[in-house]
Symmetry: C2
Subunit: 564 residues, 2 copies
Amino acid sequence: MNPTRIIIIGGSAAGPKTASKARRMDENAEITIYQKASDLSMASCGYPYYIGGFFDDRNQLLCSPTGVVRDSKFFWNAKKINTKVLTEVTILDRKNKRIEFRDLQTGERGTAEYDKLVIATGASPRKPPVPGIELEGITSLQSLSDADYLRKVRDEGKIKKAVVIGGGLIGIETVEALNLAGIEITLIELLPQLLTFLDKHMARLVEKYVQTKANVILQNGVSAFLGENGKLKAVKLLDGTEIPCELAVVAIGVSPNSRLAKDAGLKLGETGGIVVDEFMQTSDADIYAVGDCIEIPNLITDLPVHAPYGDLANLQGRVVGENLISGNVAKFPGTIQTGICKVFDYGVGSTGLSEHNAIKLGYTDLETVVNASLDKPGFMQGKLLITKLIVDKLTGLILGAQVLGPGDVSKQVAIWAMAIKGNLTVDDMATADLPYAPPYSLAIDHSIATAHVMQNKLKGLFTGISAEEFKEKLKVKDPMLLLDVRNPDEYEQMRMGLGEKLIPLGQLRKRLDEIPADKNTEIITWCKISLRGYEAALILQANGYTNVKVLEGGIVAWPWAREK
Amino acid sequence: MNPTRIIIIGGSAAGPKTASKARRMDENAEITIYQKASDLSMASCGYPYYIGGFFDDRNQLLCSPTGVVRDSKFFWNAKKINTKVLTEVTILDRKNKRIEFRDLQTGERGTAEYDKLVIATGASPRKPPVPGIELEGITSLQSLSDADYLRKVRDEGKIKKAVVIGGGLIGIETVEALNLAGIEITLIELLPQLLTFLDKHMARLVEKYVQTKANVILQNGVSAFLGENGKLKAVKLLDGTEIPCELAVVAIGVSPNSRLAKDAGLKLGETGGIVVDEFMQTSDADIYAVGDCIEIPNLITDLPVHAPYGDLANLQGRVVGENLISGNVAKFPGTIQTGICKVFDYGVGSTGLSEHNAIKLGYTDLETVVNASLDKPGFMQGKLLITKLIVDKLTGLILGAQVLGPGDVSKQVAIWAMAIKGNLTVDDMATADLPYAPPYSLAIDHSIATAHVMQNKLKGLFTGISAEEFKEKLKVKDPMLLLDVRNPDEYEQMRMGLGEKLIPLGQLRKRLDEIPADKNTEIITWCKISLRGYEAALILQANGYTNVKVLEGGIVAWPWAREK
């Protein structure tokens, strides 16, 4: 039997993973990767950290775990995989099972035939269609050459001011990287919030934190890039503001590179990504597609999404590598869109559905809570975690979680991602058996405590009020009793300053006469994280008060300004 | 209606949690905690870190998250809970729903009646029945006074040598604490391994690491404590060895304090723990029991176990607090025995069944793998993780995982604990959607990579050999080709030195003539973590070799001495 001829278009993440797995499945297949860029197997998610100076050796972005650069020689010697770099595939001729390609250095053209083909062409950064986009000093952060450019900016140390356009994952990571390079940053976002995978309140907490490191401007976009002698001098915003800067990084999202597939008549989806089935097979049975150029189902909604994440690209590559050789035996079911990013000392992560996405998709019976606590005991230097949990009210099924703070966010998001994977409910989570020791967690892990708060809410033991709802109430000046139940020394250090009354929890039972006699009085209780606030609400309810609400997440989860 | 009279016996962890939850469920219940010790709500899992000097303020072991000591005054003011400390409950009179108690300071006796009673009497450290056990200088690490004693040892700095008896969780944590106090330690364990929740090979890796900090003696016990003027001078072992020391910490496990329950005719289980149902109700419907004094089902085997973990005690307390007030509405289903401990720079954790336990329980169709990788990329200072995964061979259901190393063990164990909770299989885990960004994980998370290795093994793509099996083979001097496929510089730095041949993976295809022509030759391949070892095995298999095995986990998971 002739060896199977496998052509893989794209050599960044999903492509090489596919090739390597296919090789491991079949020592004799003829495997060739066509790669437009000059490098292979780049750790592109590492670019912000290279730019930010977490490490200095560029080769580390291209190395195998043992420090060997994954170049063409490596792929041939270690994996018997042909790689053609700086080579663009220009035509996919499905009828003749053939591709046409062009050597980007020599301009030379060639053709090659395949038995099986894999499209792993990735995604490209979107560019705002505004004047001045061609000026020197404007870049994205997508390719290794972008990273090289921005690392040079760091190393030269000449640039003082930069604008980052787009408050998504890459934008936020770029803010950190450039800030660490000593550059003054303005972050521009067209929407009213950063990180749209978060609900507004959670995003607002991130914004508040990022503002300590950069100037953040929301609900404003770029109308033009202004220059002098071909060099960027300022960014002009939609509202006319001009922000002087020598560097602008555009990070307004990416679009799947699906033109080749489209031209070849393969089916694309509404997201613009190539449509694949669970075997990662396109509408042509001999062609698979993987990575940032495809769309995949969201496993909760079953709707197709474009989810350009490096981890998924690798998982998909492994599935395709196996299916290329063994027929369709391996499946990639889809995504719950789990993501995380580092923003200075904060982690910010999410999995499953956000509340606003769930509502947009027609979910009507949702319950949410915000919970705040340390990740481990104070005596082990525990750090704050704030979680918003979204569940289906009737079944208690966990639909999504957002976690942020200086604490161990990564573990929390992993726990919720696994909970969703396992179709677990709030009740399941309330008695989860997680690893506990003081160096790692509280006796009741933050995730479990969050489930407990949700359980209490679902059982009607308390009524919560979100920071957003509370803010609205404050605006309309509803008559309310605001009750802070912390101790006076805590109140001195930090407080809302909204005209609240201070009655420490331990005194509340004795001082009930200070609460308005009208049992229908609307009362909002809180403390630092709203655990004592909850206990205060229970005491008030037990004493006949019928309209008591607990401010969810307490003072630490309040995303707007405080008096102190 | 009269308020419900609730008596809780025990005020350490499960007791106060039960009381607090009951109070939150019912503002009017009369709740009283009887506590034999002088303190309440002690963070007993924090003792080793207090002794080790991670923090100096003893109050932190007794504080609420906001720094208020949880003493009787706190419980009354904040929670309207009566507490009687230094008070021992001597008789439980179920017929009359009454307890008798004794004030340990005054000797005064009294009685109290209950509507509902909760037994939360905890567990006591076992003592070896050997001569000299009464000498000064011998302690356990169970109570706060034990912690005070050992902290004083640290602060005084007089003691130079100590023996820790018992290589379980507490023993290991004590080794770290005392080592950090500058004391030279010998750790004695009767069994052939430390930490019996681990399989031998994994335990051996811990032992190897602990040996860099303490003298570890296995398969030896204490035959006598030797003293002079009432003070400990040495520990005499079963084999006659005498180890001079001024301090001995006994940590050979704990037994449930179930005497009171037994005397009252409540049902005890084979573990000695009080038998409860899923509502935590004992054989008397008015009596619940929680925490270290009970036995609970292992959720995988459905067999009762004694699982004295602080996190479970708290979860059980919350369930009972609710059931006391609302009738039996909340359930605690059981445990998968998830645990973790810190040993200097290592984390060591486990969840579900170990291989040896599974075999002991009659599981016949198991598959296991050992996988080693970094927790995040090298350029983000990734650290090593070694995982042993145990699954059911037929269904692929995950039965257990053990994780250790300097990497982020806590997240890994949490992921596997959630996988078991969700009844997930290896295939489910192979496409799990976990949070990925370089500061937090590899593109393919260590847990998912472990699932991939297992998947490959289950599909018969390779044959693994465990370090233990390999060691046995080396003993009987089976003729084998040992093949290290790393690069020469790696070989220079670190190697097994078992007569292995070095052929770097990238040269293997060209140097196949150096492999014995007999295709039945037994060949063992490896590299640092055995990923390249696996690829080498595939190449050899593709070239007709029929008896190739990959050393699981590679050199880093080899738990015995190496040449280099």
